[in-house]
Symmetry: C2
């Protein structure tokens, strides 16, 4: 006679397998599926989603979770059992708050809104997108009301990406970032130093880019025995188990950065999932803590590691050997400076390490205003451009390079954007702690290696998967809540050196 | 208020989506999955299988099928509705006959038997495999008893691959093949002509083989907008919808045939599923009629089309342009003769078009003897070698090249083998009918084209999917039951010409 907890685990494994199969349907669609197959693929994904939703939100499931919870009552907070029950209870309660009617309606509207967005962006026609954005805002408001909140409406949505984090907390941190980062950005703008990035804008053979992406992903610790590198239009990482965590990237024939830093970024995500503890397998605990914590891992590999001087002093000769024509006459220092050029720009996904956060803070502020009814959809372009001037000092020439650039607002996903910048801040705070606990990490990095860093990340972050909230994890690992200081110390040191500030 | 039939269709779509997701888990495992992921992948596939099994065999499903059947009572036999209900009733009844305990036991034994087979084959050690084969025979016997049969035990198993076909029928056809094909094979052996196939055994660049495989698959009508070519160890075709039917092949650096004829063979399978009628989508009707009929399509493209003189007179210049070093000094006729060299051989998967059927007839006869208890596992090697001498005129030097060569007997799948040879016979009978109804098919083939042939196949075979039994289909299409005559006419004409007989 199995215990209720054992019964529950069996269900959880089944659901996890089903969700992973659905993830594979998605991955395949993006990477290898012939384009003819899209309609049937959407049907397949929809079926697996609703099967999974039905199974995970049934009354029976709710009762099983509670019966199992009673059985393991008293298990330590950080035990796998208690952590799993907490997560299942939260997910169950959340899922039960949303009417099936809303899910179907929201999914239908999102599909059509996405089409409208594609057209509006292509034609630089915000007026075409406006009525759809209005519906998305309403869907977000409705969703926030279903979930409920104590202080601010935005809390209800943010909570789905950064569990238990409050809007006020993020606002305070972002305000602190702004207060210090705007002057730093202005100092960089006014610096007599100007970095030359022409060497990354040259012809780069795509097959060689692919080979080098594999090399550099392995160099930071991504395990190809448990991974795969695919080609896509919009890169992402995805895992079907800790032993099958995949990355994707894209290739430009005359610009090296997207494949190189894309591979490092996605490797950071995938290494996180490769590092979850085996005992969490086939449960929803075998994932990253939150989107923000996940992004901390990708950003750390992309920027703190992948855009560091020491790392390229070690790996540049290899890169030169792949691309002797493009890089034969350059030095590691030339390359280091080229990949760290910072400058105001309109497009978030192309922004450099320093200005990227501004793009996020802007969206975070506009989302709140739209959600609270303070910013009607029609006024978005004006507000967008005002904030661009305030934060980055430039005005988009059109909405295509302004408020129409991202896909995110074609679905009711307010609350997602801040996790990108939070990732930068978490990443810097983790890295600073890691180095303080094991200074050998820096020595190794200067030799192009991440063994000690990865060991630290696995021990302190990866293995725990989704057992803790992001707030709990940051406190456990760094001894204090998230703040802006580690990131600012890192950014100030790096860019003061690069741009000869003082 | 939806009708019962509509309710049923919704369930059927859901089940089909789930099964297709499982098929993708399999495809991905074979083609792109990193090897570290195998344990979790097996768990995922097992979960989806049992979910699907549970849903399709529930009491509720049985009642729904019967309620829907009552609703559509009177629909024409060949309507989609009646055909679907027939198929669902059969599958439901079959599935309910097998105890869950048997399914689990059989799957566990098959897993371990496969391991034992791999080791036994590698070490040429039949004694190691013998006790496992005994268990497989018992599992087959048990399975036959669950399904039930009227005349012979083997009928129960054959029926699962060739619905409604009787063992006696296959035996009569195979005996007729033997009676005519053994003398033809002997005449070929004694012919003064000997064909030289050295040109296909030369270095062939693998990237160019890949490119040419795409070219030739497209040339016979495989649609890459709704397809994909992947690399595997054991080639297969698989579909996730008519708009996503994939092929796989393997590449040898110094032997052209496997990739070339593998691509044609799998294209034949995939074109079948690409040609199923759109109205059958997301139902189990959108598949090939039976394994034998499926094989008729692959064998037709591989052999009747792909090993024909006219086809290569048209495409050989292209092949030469891909491989000027290997083929620059050869003619289309040289190539035609090289790819049609026939000779006794030990290994089924390497056998030529003429002798292939003997390998199947041998297995068909031995399976029956084992199933009926007339042939103990221990005596298999001796019986195998006796039959090889009788049918092909040679004696395997060891069991590795004899009764240990195939994976099939490591699972309770007796009844599967005959479908390979049935495919050759069905294919010849279909092709002969097609040409008699539209002689332009031959003219086109001589120009390397299959447009008319493919149109005929779509109209007469592909679009119907699994609506008819193989017997019904053959009767509808060719006006008579399956026999050996069309194949023998085809083989006699082709090989008499090649080997200058009489």
């Amino acid at each position: 006679m199995p215990t209720k907890y054992e019964e529950l685990i069996e269900r959880v494994h089944e659901l996890d397998d089903l969700n992973k199969a659905n993830a594979l349907l998605y991955w395949d669609r993006e990477v290898y599926m012939p384009r003819g197959g899209v309609a049937e693929r959407i049907a397949q994904m929809t079926t697996l989603s609703s099967l999974s939703h039905r199974m995970s939100t049934s009354d029976e499931m709710g009762e099983l979770i509670e019966a199992a919870a009673a059985e393991i009552d008293g298990a330590p907070y950080d035990s796998n059992e208690a952590s799993l029950i907490r997560l299942l209870q939260r997910n169950y309660a959340d899922a039960r708050k949303i009417p099936a009617e809303y899910v179907a309606r929201s999914s239908a509207i999102s599909g059509r809104t996405r089409e409208a967005w594609v057209k509006a962006r292509a034609e630089n026609d915000f007026a075409h997108f406006r009525p759809w954005l209005e519906q998305v805002i309403e869907l977000c408001q409705e969703l926030a009301d279903y979930y409920g909140y104590e202080d601010e409406k935005y809390d209800a949505l943010l909570d789905k990406y950064e569990l238990n984090m409050k809007t006020a907390e993020v606002r305070a941190i972002f305000d602190a970032v702004k207060a210090e980062l705007v002057p730093l950005r202005e100092a960089v703008d006014q610096s007599r130093v100007s970095l030359n990035d022409s060497i990354v804008h040259q012809p780069y053979d795509i097959d060689k880019q692919k080979a080098f992406a594999r090399y550099i992903a392995e160099a930071v610790g991504y395990d190809f025995e448990r991974g795969h590198l695919g080609t896509v239009v919009h890169p992402f990482a995805i895992s079907f188990s800790r032993n099958d965590a995949r990355i994707t990237t894209r290739w430009y024939p005359d610009f090296l950065n997207p494949s190189l830093f894309g591979a490092l970024h996605e490797s950071g995500h995938a290494m996180y999932e490769q590092g979850t503890h085996p005992d969490l397998a086939r449960t929803p605990l075998a994932r990253g803590t939150s989107l923000g914590i996940h992004e901390s891992q990708s950003r750390m590999m992309e920027n703190i590691v992948g855009r560091s001087r020491g790392f390229w002093q070690a790996h540049f000769p290899k890169l030169q050997s792949y691309f002797p024509e493009a890089l034969g006459n350059s030095t590691a220092e030339d390359f280091y400076r080229a990949i760290n050029k910072t400058q105001p720009s309109f497009i978030r996904v192309e922004a450099d390490e320093l200005t990227y956060n501004f793009h996020i803070i802007l969206r975070f502020e506009l989302e709140q205003a739209m959600l609270n009814g303070d910013l009607p959809a029609a006024e978005l372009p004006t507000s967008w451009n005002d904030k661009m001037r305030e934060l980055i000092g430039i005005t988009p020439p059109n909405d295509k390079e302004g408020c129409l650039q991202d896909v995110h607002w074609s679905r009711p996903g307010f609350g997602y954007f801040p996790t990108y910048a939070l990732g930068n801040l978490y990443g810097a705070q983790f890295f600073e702690t890691a180095v303080s606990q094991n200074p050998a990490i820096l020595d190794e990095l200067a030799q192009g290696k991440t063994t000690a860093l990865l060991a630290w990340l696995r021990e302190n972050i990866h293995q725990h998967g989704k057992k803790f909230t992001p707030g709990e994890l940051v406190q456990r690992v760094t001894g204090r809540p998230l703040d802006h200081q580690a990131f600012m110390r890192y950014a100030r040191a790096k860019f003061s050196d690069l741009y000869a500030l003082n």
